[in-house]
């Protein structure tokens, strides 16, 4: 039911450039919760092997979009293909890594035990499990806390355990909902370095944030406001298009323009 229509409808946000098959391909993506349209006819592509930032204020629909991509959101209509299959297909469950905003790990298990369980669920063979777990802990710099209960870790440490779970099994697409919230600047830089290393090895990353200064670390940006896509472009193009110095200013300029358009067509 999520097959792309032969003639995709024209859309102002249509990204340019053909390139390889997109990791995420959305056309007219709409999500309804109750009577409210949480996402309204979003169309965009996420290029493979890149870091794409999903930016917007809180409550703009970022988390809903992420949940639609990983296939946990109900009432999704329109086209949404992930790695060539409709979002939520059974075959995607081990190919897409997902980190929720709140750390979804077991507080009454150690970091290592958490990872060990999730690795088993992902079907990583027993013989390779310990190595995969250690690698993930190293990636998020938590080896010194590996045997602490996740519930006793600090907020930032617990969210890194949650991130480490998503790294298990080297998924092709990593979808991260605000992974750097509450982390100190050093750790944030280290994580962004990790994200770029992963992208360099071919992993596609979609990272949501409401911190605009992280936008310049992304190759491509999706700006979301009130469930609609304000813009989809590179940080540089967005700055140039709006004549701004920073992505934050560009975003505000786009918001003002959208408001003005809304006011003129009530």
């Amino acid at each position: 039911m999520n097959k792309p229509p032969p003639q995709p409808p024209p859309d102002p946000a249509e990204p340019t450039g053909p390139g390889p098959d997109p990791a995420v391909h959305a056309r007219g993506l709409t999500v309804v919760r109750g009577t409210r349209r949480v996402l309204d006819a979003l169309s965009f592509d996420v290029a493979p092997g890149t870091v794409t930032g999903l930016l917007g204020p809180s409550g703009s629909g970022k988390s809903t979009l992420i949940r639609a991509i990983v296939g946990t959101q109900a009432k999704v209509t329109g086209t949404l293909d992930v790695l060539g299959s409709p979002a939520g297909s059974a075959g995607l469950r081990s190919r897409v890594g997902y980190v929720t905003q709140a750390p979804s790990v077991y507080g009454d298990l150690s970091a290592r035990q958490n990872l060990d369980y999730y690795a088993a669920v992902l079907g990583i063979p027993r013989s390779r499990r310990a190595a995969a777990v250690t690698q993930a802990l190293t990636d998020v710099d938590l080896t010194s806390h590996a045997d602490d209960l996740a519930g006793n870790l600090s907020g930032g440490q617990a969210s890194r355990v949650s991130l480490a779970v998503a790294l298990l099994g080297a998924p092709e697409l990593l979808v991260l909902d605000e992974p750097t919230v509450g982390l100190d600047p050093v750790l944030r830089r280290d994580l962004w370095d990790l994200f770029h290393r992963l992208a360099a090895h071919g992993t596609t990353l979609l990272i949501s944030s409401h911190v605009m200064d992280e936008a310049d670390r992304c190759a491509h940006l999706l700006l979301v406001r009130d469930g609609t896509l304000l813009a989809a472009d590179t940080p540089r193009a967005l700055r140039e298009q709006t004549g701004s110095d920073t992505v934050e200013e560009a975003f505000l300029a786009l918001v003002d323009a959208a408001r003005a358009a809304e006011d003129s067509t009530p």
Partner: protein
């Protein structure tokens, strides 16, 4: 369903409990202490202790597993771990059977301790085999696990989920024949008690109490308990949704 994912889930649940020795101690010791209490309550009437004690051996595992499972799965739902697991290649059956295995194992230990103490220290006088008591206790525990899993879908908080205990378990205790023979109840209540699974759990215990062999009634009773547990487990599986609003 996948055996290694199911076993990994059971091991994970047991590991979580392993970090919580106080819960394990409470789970294992409280039934024994309550039996001892009951023994002295019926100080002058040992026959009454035999019949109520045997019934309680069936009720304890159901109640404790109901509480433990309902809260464990509610936490799984509210902490986001359930959503994460269901975005991974984990079957709903893997999760449910994993929980049932882990809590079933705990229930076996609990029931073995309680039954052992009742028979050898409190002189509980049963005609049948203690193994049959243990079998009924295990099936009751599975029923409790199944009910707990099911009701956790209808609770948004721990406050709500513990209220399901008086709402779903107390009526069954009142109507299972522990306080008055089921046949002597007001006919409507007797009819209700005939469709509540705990009635059969207690009937099964009573059969073991009075008969040295596994009677036809006993087989029917444990069949009803096992069938109810499977039915409720299936209903519980239906409450696990990969996609939620």
């Amino acid at each position: 369903m996948n055996a290694s994912r199911t076993l990994a889930t059971a091991r994970r649940v047991l590991r979580q409990l392993g970090h919580d020795p106080r819960t394990i101690a409470l789970l294992l010791l409280v039934p024994i202490l309550l039996l001892v209490l009951l023994y002295y309550v019926f100080d002058a009437d040992r026959r009454a202790f035999d019949s109520i004690g045997a019934s309680l051996l069936g009720i304890f595992p159901l109640v404790t597993m109901f509480l433990v499972t309902s809260i464990a799965t509610l936490r799984e739902r509210t902490s986001g771990t359930l959503e994460r697991l269901l975005s991974m290649p984990l079957g709903k059956g893997d999760l449910i059977v994993g929980y049932a295995l882990a809590f079933g194992l705990l229930a076996v230990v609990q029931a073995a301790l309680a039954t052992g103490v009742a028979i050898w220290f409190l002189d509980l006088d049963i005609a049948g085999s203690p193994w049959l008591l243990l079998l009924v206790a295990l099936l009751d525990a599975l029923l409790g696990t199944a009910l707990g899993l099911f009701v956790s879908a209808f609770a948004a908080s721990e406050f709500q989920v513990v209220q399901f205990m008086p709402a779903m378990i107390f009526p069954q205790i009142l109507l299972c024949g522990l306080f008055a023979p089921r046949g002597s109840m007001q006919p409507v209540l007797e009819g209700i008690s005939n469709v509540l699974p705990m009635s059969y759990a207690v009937d099964g215990m009573t059969e073991v109490l009075h008969h040295s062999e596994a009677t036809g009634d006993f087989v029917r009773d444990i069949g009803v308990v096992a069938g109810s547990a499977l039915l409720v487990l299936a209903l519980g599986a239906a409450t696990l949704r990969r996609r939620t609003a």
